[in-house]
Amino acid sequence: MSVFVLRLDAQGLRTIGLGLVSLVLYVLLFTNADAILTLSLQKGWGFIVPIAIAFLFSFVHGAFTGGFWDMMGLKAQARKEPKRWNK
């Protein structure tokens, strides 16, 4: 009988944590969509709302998706800086 053991290191736990935070953010966004859209339409500083949300989601969800593929075994090839060939 084969048993799959998911071994989690600190990096893996961080990714799962980020995934949960990302999920909570999305649930909050869609459960409060009307209020958020109304807020974003306010005159003056309302335009900050979608921009702040976009930045927040990009940090959390971006870090999660990076870690996610890493956990799936999709890693970049270690390579030096691209060659510059003019000189």
């Binding site: 999305y26 966004l29 869609f30 969509a33 009307d34 958020i36 859209l37 109304t38 974003s40 339409l41 309302g46 335009f47 900050i48 709302v49 979608p50 921009i51 949300i53 976009a54 930045f55 989601f57 990009s58 969800h61 971006g62 999660f64 998706t65 990076g66 996610f68 593929w69 999709l74 890693k75 970049a76 090839q77 390579r79 030096k80 800086e81 691209p82 060659k83 510059r84 060939w85 003019n86 000189k87």
Partner: protein, 345 residues
């Protein structure tokens, strides 16, 4: 909130998936996906301006994450990206203004015809240069390294006192008087067809002489600057539907990571190959609808409604096909690269 439509599950899943594929292509060639997302949202009933604004609002965080990832691989020239980005921003403003003028003068159909015409002309010229170069590099094999072309060498030899800036991707000083119009054109194109990278990346490669890996990575910085500026402008007028933007972002951040990882496994000509193929396919997509708009403007004989609908639908699906084929080539190259890397030499 009449601009913001109710969302259904099918639409959300579709946007997530298009976002993923678009992100995958962007992570690899520096841009892409936007040309399918805007029409896809419009098909769902989203007003055109909200579709463009929400697309823009997913673009800048996506570009931020993508450029951060590729900077970790040493592929980003932040200075070049910012210098080009600022002038691109000016290009976006002028481009958007030209769009408005055309819309006022010739209506929605005139505006559509103008956009399709710009698509066809730009992609025919730039797309064929990129694809020809990619095929030449492919035939020459991996042994031949990328080299700065004659034009890039000439540009690097121009010395205008007081305007010279050193760029690490080129490893040379170039006058900002040369980068300014390139950035401006990138922004103009972005405001017109939503994909500034179709000028931005080739201009960095062929005019400035940046390697394709660095040009496509640096384009993400330009896209970030342009996207942020554009989003502020649209958000101030209340056109950004943050729900749509964040659904697309959810998918595209998964995709952009894979695209960025892909660049570390492939030979540089693959970036040109994917870009060239997508450009030429999109060119044909836009070519199909030009007669429809021309007929609506009475420039040619009327076209039967059924034929017009078929042409429009064919055009949309060729665009989707362009993205899917691009994504397929990237995934295949990534798969092959990873397998080769796993086998000890």
């Amino acid at each position: 909130m009449t601009n913001f439509i109710p969302l259904d599950a099918t639409g959300m899943v579709a946007l997530f998936l298009v976002g993923f594929v678009g992100g995958l292509v962007s992570g690899f060639i520096g841009s892409g996906g936007a040309f399918v997302l805007t029409p896809a949202m419009m098909t769902m009933g989203v007003p055109a301006i909200v579709a463009v604004a929400s697309n823009m609002c997913h673009k800048f965080p996506k570009a931020l994450v993508g450029s951060y990832k590729r900077a970790k691989y040493g592929q980003v020239d932040v200075k070049l990206g910012l210098v080009m980005g600022v002038s691109a921003e000016a290009g976006v403003l002028v481009g958007a203004h030209v769009q408005e003028l055309i819309k006022v003068a010739f209506g929605d159909v005139g505006s559509n015809l103008y956009v399709s015409f710009v698509f066809v002309v730009t992609l025919a010229i730039v797309g064929s240069i990129v694809l020809r170069d990619a095929i030449r590099s492919y035939r020459a094999g991996a042994a031949v390294e990328e080299k700065a072309g004659k034009l890039a060498k000439f540009v690097q030899s121009i010395h205008i006192p007081g305007t010279m800036v050193y760029f690490k991707s080129i490893d040379a000083k170039v006058s900002v008087l040369i980068t300014l119009p390139l950035g401006f054109a990138t922004g103009m194109l972005a405001a017109t067809i939503a994909v500034g990278g179709f000028i931005g990346v080739p201009s960095m490669m062929y005019v400035l002489g940046a390697p394709s890996l660095m040009a496509s990575a640096t384009e993400l910085v330009i896209a970030f600057v342009m996207g942020l500026g554009g989003t502020i402008k649209f958000a101030m007028s209340g056109y950004v539907d943050i729900r749509l933007a964040m659904i697309i972002l959810a998918g595209s951040l998964f995709g952009i990571q894979v695209g960025a990882i892909g660049t570390t496994y492939v030979k540089p000509y693959m970036i040109k190959m994917v870009m060239g193929i997508i450009m030429i396919l999109v060119l044909f997509s836009r070519l199909l609808v030009i007669p429809v708009y021309m007929a609506q403007l009475d420039m040619i004989a009327p076209i039967a409604a059924g034929t017009a609908a078929a042409l429009k639908s064919g055009s949309f699906w060729i665009m989707v096909g362009a993205l899917v084929i691009g994504a397929g080539i990237i995934l295949r190259a990534l798969w092959t690269g990873m397998r080769e890397a796993a086998v000890p030499a």
